[in-house]
Every structure is written in C-alpha cells, then in structure tokens.
C-alpha cells in the first residue's frame, strides 16, 4: 500500500533508473552526465490496479478504446454496428451459420458503446473480420464430400482440433495431406476455412478457378508466425503426427 507518488528518472543513455543531479536547472544523469533523462511518473500504481480487477475495463479505458476504433474505422463503425445487428436478426432466423447467435440477447445501438454490449461489439467485429476478411475462404462442398474416411491404425495419434487421442479402429476424416481428424472436429472448420488445421494444405474453395492444390501464402501484414512455422523454426502448434510423450 505505498502510494507515495515518487518521481523516478530514466536515463536513455544508460538505459536505467537514475537519480539525476540538477545543474543550471537541467537534469543530468548521475552516471553519464548526459541530459537525456526522462521523468517518469509512477505508472505502475495504475497498472497494478488494472491487473487486480482483470477483465473489468474502466470507463476511461473504454472511451480510449472507442476512440481508437473510431479513428481506425472512421464512420464505418456505425454502419458496421447496424450491419451486425441486422445480421444477428437474420442469422437467428435462418440459423444456417454454425455460430451460435440464438443466445445473443438483443441490444440497442447505444448499448454497443457503453456497458456489456460494447464487449460484444468488439467480439462481433473480430468475428466479422475472421469470417469475411481473414484466413482462407470455406472449402467447397464437393471437396469436403470427397474427403476419405479412414480407420485409425496408429497408436498415439491425436486429433489436433479437440486434442483427444484417437483409439485404434476409430473412423476419421483424412485430408489429402494425410492429416486425420474426427469428422465432427474437421467439418465445422472446413465450413469456415479450406486449410488443414495442421499444415495449411488448401482444399479447393469456391474462389478457385483450377483444382491445383496450392499453399497458403496470403498474409495480411503483421508479424507472421505462420511463415516462421513454414520455415521450420519454433513455435509450432501441436502436431498431428505421433506424439513423443
């Protein structure tokens, strides 16, 4: 419970906390004598408050987040929110999508920006992005129907979607890359994306003009662990091959 707002100073030459000396009203580092010293407020107090009630975002934080999103998506945000609402209504009627929207309570647009609706908006934005913009498009029905059903004859083989081990003799769906999954685990994924969960091998998609298998090289910018993965360096998701442990 120390709340003494102690001022601290950071020397950017020494990269460390310092106790500056004041010469001619200029703060100088007591180690290197440089003037490249920055006063740092005791931000840790605020941070540890944040961490204590984890998950609960305070109003200021929320407003900050909203401003951020507003500046990123500009006027689109209102359209988006409207669109999401409309989609929620349609989805709950047609129910063709496997995303469970029936459990989503109705929300007013106002709720989106304050209170519980707000987190849902963020969630929805993420989902919209995920389903429509990011990742590979869904696999075609034909490609899914053409998948082989095989009997598991290997010990310690894991379905990486549910991370359960297969039992010998159990039936599984096999991708052309020979990765195997429970049918109930693989098919919902292929309805969203055409890539193998383990190696990203692509089944044909509705967008395809040819049937040639290709590898997934799209990248929306951002740091690419996926490309590191392909180059064989760590880290990797759990592999579908026999487990060593």
């Amino acid at each position: 419970m120390e709340d003494a707002a102690e001022t601290m100073y950071w020397c950017h030459m020494c990269s460390r906390l310092v106790i500056p000396v004041i010469e001619d009203e200029i703060f100088k580092c007591n180690f290197c004598q440089s003037g490249f010293v920055e006063e740092i407020a005791d931000t840790q107090a605020a941070d540890s408050d944040d961490q204590n009630n984890d998950g609960e975002i305070d109003i200021n934080g929320q407003l900050e987040e909203i401003r951020r999103i507003l500046s990123r998506h500009s006027a689109e945000i209102v359209n988006l929110a409207e669109g999401i609402r409309a989609r929620l209504l349609i989805e709950s009627e047609t129910n063709e999508n496997n995303i469970d929207t029936a459990s989503v309570p109705p929300v007013s647009l106002g709720d989106y920006f304050i209170g519980p609706g707000y987190e849902m908006l963020l969630q929805r934005l993420a989902e919209t992005d995920l389903n429509n913009k990011y990742g590979t498009p869904p696999a075609t029905k034909e490609a899914v129907e053409a998948l082989a059903t095989v009997k598991i004859d290997e010990r310690l083989l894991q379905c990486t979607v549910c991370i359960d081990d297969f039992e010998i003799g159990m039936e599984a769906k096999e991708m052309p890359c020979e990765h195997k999954f429970h049918s109930d685990c693989l098919l919902p994924w292929l309805e969203l994306h055409s890539s193998c969960p383990v190696c990203r091998f692509l089944l044909s998609t509705a967008d395809d003009d040819d049937d040639e298998p290709k590898t997934n090289d799209d990248n929306n910018g951002g740091f690419s662990i996926a490309s590191m993965e392909r180059n064989g360096s760590s880290p990797q998701p759990s592999s579908n091959s026999s487990l060593a442990n």
Binding site: Q44, R68, D100, A126, N219, G222, F223, I225, P235
Partner: protein
C-alpha cells in the same frame, strides 16, 4: 459450446502437466469461468524485456477452437506490435493465420517469439515502430527496457 468447454478442459489438464516443462509460461484459468484465462510470461533473454514478467489476458470465444482466443497484454509493454494503451496484439496467428491446432499454451509461445522479433512495419505502437524503422535500435531498446523496468518488474529495487 460443449466442444469448446471440453477442449479448454483438456488444455487445462495439459497445462497442469506441462507446468514444469515450460518455466517461461504460467497459464492460469479463471476459477469460475473456463473461457477466461491469464498468463504470466517471462520476457525473452537478450531483449529489452529480459527480467520482466508480463501478464496476458485471454478471452476465449464460444466457437473456440474454430476461432482464435482474444489476447491482450495487461502489463504495459513498449513494442511495435502491441497497442500501448490497450495491450492489443498484432499477430497473424491470432487473426488470418489462426488454426485450431494452436492452443493457449502455444499462443503464449508465439507471443514470446513476437517479443523477441518485433515487426516494425505493421505497428500498433507507432512510436516504437518509428524508432525501429528509423534505425534507432538504441532508442527503441532504451524505451522498451524502461517500460519493462517500470511495469513488468517487482516494485522494489
């Protein structure tokens, strides 16, 4: 919903088993909500985050693992691919490159790798992205270790 619960419970058991195996990651599930997790990760050595312990918050969506978890830093971190205010992380496997074969544990490993290999060309933190892009590695390192010292280390010292 049932599938995501079952899968998360598997991960929970896996985490208990692996705790010793990966001393850099401590992944904890909320006592009352299996869809909320936090992780403590160690800043990778030979980076400005070395010596720091960083807290991550996970919100797992119901369609998990068909959709990625939402992850953000709760601990302040000065990194080009982490939003300085919100802790939001720009990482492909949390977006377009997500695959259900990733687990919360392997996502933590990916984030540690991101800490060691910043990508200044797709910044969420423009200041640090600019520092790195302009080649001011020293300036970047100093700012990053300043915030590590401030926010990610025990107060005493």
């Amino acid at each position: 919903m049932q599938q995501s619960r079952a899968r998360l419970f598997k991960e929970y058991k896996e985490v208990q088993r692996e705790k010793v195996a990966d001393p850099d990651i401590q992944l904890v599930c909320d006592d009352t909500n299996i869809f909320k997790w936090t992780a403590l990760i160690k800043g990778p050595s030979e980076t400005p985050y070395e010596g720091g312990v960083f807290q991550l918050a996970f919100a797992v969506p119901e369609p998990y693992p068909l959709q990625p978890p939402q992850v953000r830093f709760l601990t302040k971190i000065f990194h080009p691919n982490v939003h300085f205010k919100t802790g939001e992380i720009c990482l492909d496997i949390l977006k377009n490159a997500w695959s259900p074969a990733w687990t919360l544990q392997s996502v933590c490993r990916a984030i540690i790798a991101l800490m060691a290999h910043p990508e200044p060309d797709s910044p969420l933190n423009c200041d640090s992205g600019n520092l790195l892009r302009s080649g001011d590695v020293r300036g970047f390192n100093s700012m990053a270790s300043m915030y590590t010292r401030l926010a990610a280390m025990p107060k005493k010292g």
